[in-house]
Amino acid sequence: MGLTYQRSAKRVLRANFVNSPASDYIVALAGNPNTGKSTVFNALTGLKQHTGNWPGKTVIQAYGNYRYKGKMITLVDLPGTYSLFTNSPEEEVARDFICFGEPDVTIVVVDATCLERNLNFVLQVMEITPKTIMCLNLIDEARRRNIHIDYKKLQDKLGVPVIPTAARNGEGLNQLKDTVNRLASGLICPNPRQLRYEDSIEKTIEELAAELIPTLQDRINKRWIALRLIEGDYSVIASIKKYLGSSTFKEEFEYGTDTPRMGCFK
């Protein structure tokens, strides 16, 4: 039972965000503003883009498709934000899609010239999903400014793939596509570095996460939800109810998700 509605929640979100039933993988593209995220998005999807509004939000979203090694990949351009702490509608949209949309892969585009600020965001994404790729963009600019990044070491430390790119001139994009396919198909199993908090917090996280199992089962990251509840961010509860709630589920179940809603009434 649980699995059914969980999967449905994912389908609800995806059907709302992305009307692309033919795609094999759904990939979220996240990152700080001004990291060249749009350049990466355009370079990968070309002109096959669509735009729309997030359900119930005035945040504009874009998605597009590309084909790589026989797979059709749908790339969802999330709004550029500095954190996932839901200070703004943009942050809430980005967070909800990464958490409840359950993308097959989340690419975080990072500005190599200000790595520290961007890493804060990467770490937050990694707390939600292990299926993260760090796209170390503007690597050419970093080289020009004599910033040397040992990305092999960074990859080992983070436990997720780190791909240096210069999207402006196409550098590293093939490797990025390749990594997306391998991660989505399960050829790579990331082992993301987990942030550890002080003992009392960790203990409570464990307790709460265990209690969340009956509700969330094995799909949504319970540790992360527990952490949000501990810090008093109740917007996740609203999101759980919204995306996993019975009314949404029923509606989508009866009318179907992969077909347009209009004209589907029985």
Partner: protein, 467 residues
Amino acid sequence: MGQTPQEWVVLNDVVHKAETFRNLQGENIHDKIVSNIYAEAESLVSDVVELTNIKKDWDHRIDDIVTSRIFGYPLMLVLLGVVFWLTITGANYPSALLADLLFGLEERFTRLFQILGAPAWLHGLVVLGTYRSLAWVVSVMLPPMAIFFPIFTLLEDLGYLPRVAFNLDRAFKRVGAHGKQALTMSIGFGCNAAGVLAARIIDSPRERLIAILTNNFVPCNGRFPTLILISTIFIGAGVASTYGNMAASAMVIGLVLVGISVTLLVSRVLSRTLLRGEPSLFSLELPPYRKPQVGRVIVRSFLDRTIFVLGRAVVIAAPAGTITWILANVYIGDLSIVAHAAGWLEPFGQALGLDGIIVLAFLLGLPANEIVIPIMLMSYLAAGAMLELNSLSAMRELLVSQGWTWVTALNVMLFSLLHFPCGTTLLTIRKETGSFKWTVLSAVITTAIAIVVCFLIAQGARIFDLV
């Protein structure tokens, strides 16, 4: 089948436990979590990033100074001062030139009307009413705008304005408003209606309303010429001529500072009373400094802003001039309509250190602040001796002959700075808030403050015998 009510109960239970834990902790857990993430990112970076020949970018070095706690504000003031000084000094000569030209033309028109044997009322209506107020608006407003806008646009293009917003952000957060209000306020220097519209960038309705209601406290294009003109002829002329322009610039800066202080004060009061709440967070990225495209900036700012604002002023000034002339020249009994109205407003005006005509001019100037001074002058001219108003000193004489003192000048400037928004801005507020109540309130708050401030200054000056 979805979530059963029981599962919601479990969820509520978990929320409750989390809350209990948080309350027990005492400290702010969110802050702890965030600083943990930041510490982690920092240690990772120190592990994997190596900098050779670290040369701090020049723009970062500039930012360190421009946005520093010590130099940030003084630098802003100095830059503002330089901009005003350039505007006032630079505008004098072309202004006199334009006035000579346009008022020379007025004489020719007068002669033409005489040759054609036109009746006196037609000459009065067309030449003394419509044409003269147009000539006034153009010669007084065009030169300062043609200097002020390009400089302002250059600063904008250079990337300085986001730094201003960054500096002011702290102040706005402290009064419970949104940091982005610094940006909408900056836009208000151009045009308050545009500033009100720009408040859309603020997401929280509470903070957006604060930004909308207080935008009017920074002088817009329509009011800058008024402030510059009166500071030049009253403050500037009172000091030795070499320092005249500097004194006038300092006066305008002072007024801008008063405007910003009132903005902050009213924001604070609003966020403690009608619009209570916590300021929300936002991030502002400082864009890189860019080399401004000087030629393009000058052309664009001249065409887009100067000509646009002047056009609007002309469109409103022409009919306003005509109407004012009619009001000043149609007599009921032995007094003109203006004199009746001004006489009726006189006690109120006097209490504020103004006079009836000034109050009338502000009321008639509701469609656009640009026409307040022309209306005022025309009413004075119709009431008093006919003067050739082709120089600033002539204007000063006229105003002094009408009983103006430094208190009158100061209060006219303050009233202009603080009074009700112009018609366009009020319509924009109505459209943006969708509420008649807030629109009325925006006019009431501003006007009430203007009245109180002017009243206090006028009475203070009277009590301490300063006039």
